[in-house]
Amino acid sequence: MASTMFSLAFATPSASFSLQHNLKSKLKLGTSSQRAFSGKDFVKAKSNGRTAMTVAVNVSQFEGITMAPPDPILGVSEAFKADTNELKLNLGVGAYRTEDLQPYVLNVVKKAENLMLERGENKEVATIQGLSGTGSLRIAAALIERYFPGSKVLISSPTWGNHKNIFNDARVPWSEYQYYDPRTVGLDFAGMIDDIKAAPEGSFILLHGCAHNPTGIDPTPEQWEKIADLIQEKNHIPFFDVAYQGFASGSLDQDASSVRLFAARGMELLVAQSYSKNLGLYGERIGAINVLCSSADAATRVKSQLKRLARPMYSNPPIHGARIVANVIGIPELFSEWKKEMEMMAGRIKSVRQKLYDSLSVKDKSGKDWSFILKQIGMFSFTGLSKAQSESITNKWHVYMTKDGRISLAGLSSAKCEYLADAIIDTYYNAS
């Protein structure tokens, strides 16, 4: 069976065609890089280029290449940087800022920089270091593509923008499950259950472990139990993206409860972790991909294949961030200090949520219920502003946010809450 899977993974032409076909139609929804996939335009350009080549040598092979669109999230920061207005506010990328809106290097990280420690490992878990959350997701996607060709990943609607790119580039088909309910600015639980139920048996269900990005809306513990029941019933595989452990409630353990709930039931699952936010190690690209298997033997084999997928991508992962993490977690005093700093960061975010909510409630005379801001959790809040309104708030108020209406509370200081409340109210009621 293994060899059959293998030869199917290195696909027959018809299998790969249908995957490519899927990819092409998915790409139509998103970016203009669809043009990039068309071989025909290129061939035309290339044949012109080749004729010209005998005369002038400087004609490029890449004639037909168009400009990629700005990244919907990272592009926001670029636009913010270019803005000269002194009132400008960056609520785009989810990177933690202090009250003074400065980046924060944790004290514990500063202490940890030059040592290295070994950690004990649970033998049933296959773990390799990944390039933060993105890289860990990508390796997992590559594993799915290789060993479950044709299996689908279900992702929430909405989800972090890069999830789709990751599965597209890994050639893994995906579809969405309902998640956000704009009427309640909360979870569409019934819709989520329906879609997970309707998915073909053995699908991968991508779940945000805590602090859902971009909505900030997490299932309750009871809802998690029902989701786990359904996933077991349908023989789906849970695939957790854990980018904010510690950042949701302030407690590392509390924020791991969804993953632990599933693991306690004896389910095999995948977990992608990131230390970008909770240890502030954004630029070091440090995370991990974990596959919890039913046996140590399976874990050994899976780990070997994870490494084999990483080898042609980057050979081995960057060492610096890993050393820091190993020290912070491995040295008890540093670990305690980290937990305190984590509580502090999560605490600051909770307090700006409260302050923003208070300002909105006071300033908005219409009686609209803004309490969803308090119910949402983690770095982000889904404001309910439309795409047009998100653009308008940038143009008029110099408030930078992503077009899906998401604001990053991490980029908000309590000093700026009133300004933001004014901007949101004005935009919500006056901008179309």
């Binding site: 290339k46 092979q61 890449f62 290097v105 990508r138 580039d169 610096h320």
Partner: protein, 425 residues
């Protein structure tokens, strides 16, 4: 069809097991252990060996004359300057601008017009592997019908990279086993016989694993033939500075192609020449027609990086830009890289002399003719296995010796062992 059968088979196994206890059946029953990586697997085996005589001439990581890993002084100084002074925010998707600028100067020349005219699309990459991979993905996306011509032999990971990028591979002749040198005639034939406009992977200097490089005249002929055929040259430059000890000299092949007007691609790595192995820092560059095209190409390279790792790691890039951006540190680096190259050249001489003194019936000229970190010894896999089993000497089974692992302390032991397994050949 077999997939569905496999899934439902697995599903029925799982549904029959009880909830609450971890099922003995697994989703991952069909996952076989991956074959050991031929290069990295050697070090793993070496580490597991308890013999006090063991020698590791497997992986191409530089060692000093005591067999210890080296962190360059200029790197330590750069790290001192960096520690605590920067935050760890995300780099832009394309990586560190400063590091890229310095990298382009190294590869293309300080006064390169291509740099002045902003015709080079470049991103920071995850060392050489990452640079090759992003290029391979880029090639697949924008020239979907193209193939890549890869020399025989080459670094084994090249095959993995282009395979995982779904780019079909062809090979071209390179190594001539009889002379343990370059099979230039066959190589030129392959270049002429490839369809016009083919993509070729070239090692810029210090070919891995053979250590055999074309001469300057041969490079000029290759470049000329590439012009005639309209081929695309992609240079993997992992050893700039490490081959001759002089980075400018080691960039000769690239400079010849640039003089001839080729719009090349280039993967650069700082793993060896700055000893930054674990930091994963390198650069991918592609020469374009003009600034506008370079901007477009760069944006597409970033588009490929985003779903792989979002942005590249900051630490190594800071080290590189600190060193290359400071004239004193840069000079210090140049001295240190020359020192490493000189030590290796010295060990080549010593190994050859030792073998000749032992009265080996074979010719060992190739040890000093070849250049860079590796020596393609000409030994067979069986002979290599004997070296490992009987003498605890670890190298890859293609007979590649990493000269960086040879020291004055182990060179005669190594020579003796090689002599013993080859004398009756």
């Amino acid at each position: 069809m077999a997939i569905r059968a496999a899934i439902s088979d697995r599903c029925s196994k799982l549904s029959s097991s009880s909830l609450g206890a971890r099922s003995l059946s697994s989703w991952w029953g069909n996952v076989e252990p991956a074959p050991k990586d031929p290069i990295l697997g050697v070090t793993e085996a070496f580490l597991a060996d308890p013999s006090p005589d063991k020698v590791n001439v497997g992986v191409g990581a530089y060692r000093d004359n005591s067999g210890k890993p080296v962190v360059l002084e200029c790197v330590r100084e750069a790290e001192r300057r960096i520690a605590g002074s920067f935050n760890m925010e995300y780099l832009p998707m394309g990586g560190s601008v400063k590091m890229i600028e310095e990298s382009l100067k190294l590869a293309y020349g300080e006064n390169s017009d291509l740099i002045k005219n902003k015709r080079i699309a470049a991103i920071q990459a995850l060392s050489g592997t990452g640079a090759c991979r992003i290029f391979a993905d880029f090639q697949k996306r924008f020239c979907p019908d193209s193939q890549i011509y890869i020399p025989v032999p080459t670094w084994s990971n090249h095959h993995n990279i282009w395979r995982d990028a779904h780019v079909p591979q062809k090979t071209y002749h390179y190594y001539h086993p009889e002379s343990k040198g370059l099979d230039f005639a066959a190589m030129m034939d392959d270049i002429k016989n490839a369809p016009k406009g083919s993509f070729f992977l070239l090692h810029a200097c210090a070919h891995n694993p053979t250590g055999v490089d074309p001469t300057e005249e041969q490079w000029r002929e290759i470049s000329h033939q590439f012009k005639v055929m309209g081929h695309f040259a992609f240079f993997d430059m992992a050893y700039q500075g490490f081959a001759s000890g002089n980075p400018e000299k080691d960039a000769m092949a690239i400079r010849i192609f640039l003089e001839d007007g080729h719009p090349i691609g280039c993967a650069q790595s700082y793993a060896k020449n700055m000893g930054l192995y674990g930091q994963r820092v390198g650069c991918l560059s592609i020469v374009c027609e003009d600034e506008k095209q370079a901007v477009a190409v760069k944006s597409q390279l970033q588009q490929l990086a985003r779903p792989m790792y979002s942005n590249p790691p900051v630490h190594g890039a800071l080290v590189v830009s600190t060193i290359l951006g400071d004239p004193n540190l840069k000079n210090q680096w140049l001295g240190e890289v020359k020192g490493m190259a000189d030590r290796i050249i010295g060990m080549r001489t010593a190994l050859r002399e030792n073998l000749e003194k032992l009265g080996s019936p074979l010719s060992w000229e190739h040890i000093t003719n070849q250049i860079g970190m590796f020596c393609y010894s000409g030994m067979t896999p069986e002979q290599v296995d004997r070296l490992t089993k009987e003498y605890h000497i670890y190298m890859t089974r293609n007979g590649r010796i990493s000269m960086a692992g040879v020291t004055t302390g182990n060179v005669s032991y190594l020579a003796n062992a090689i002599h013993e397994v080859t004398k009756s050949a």
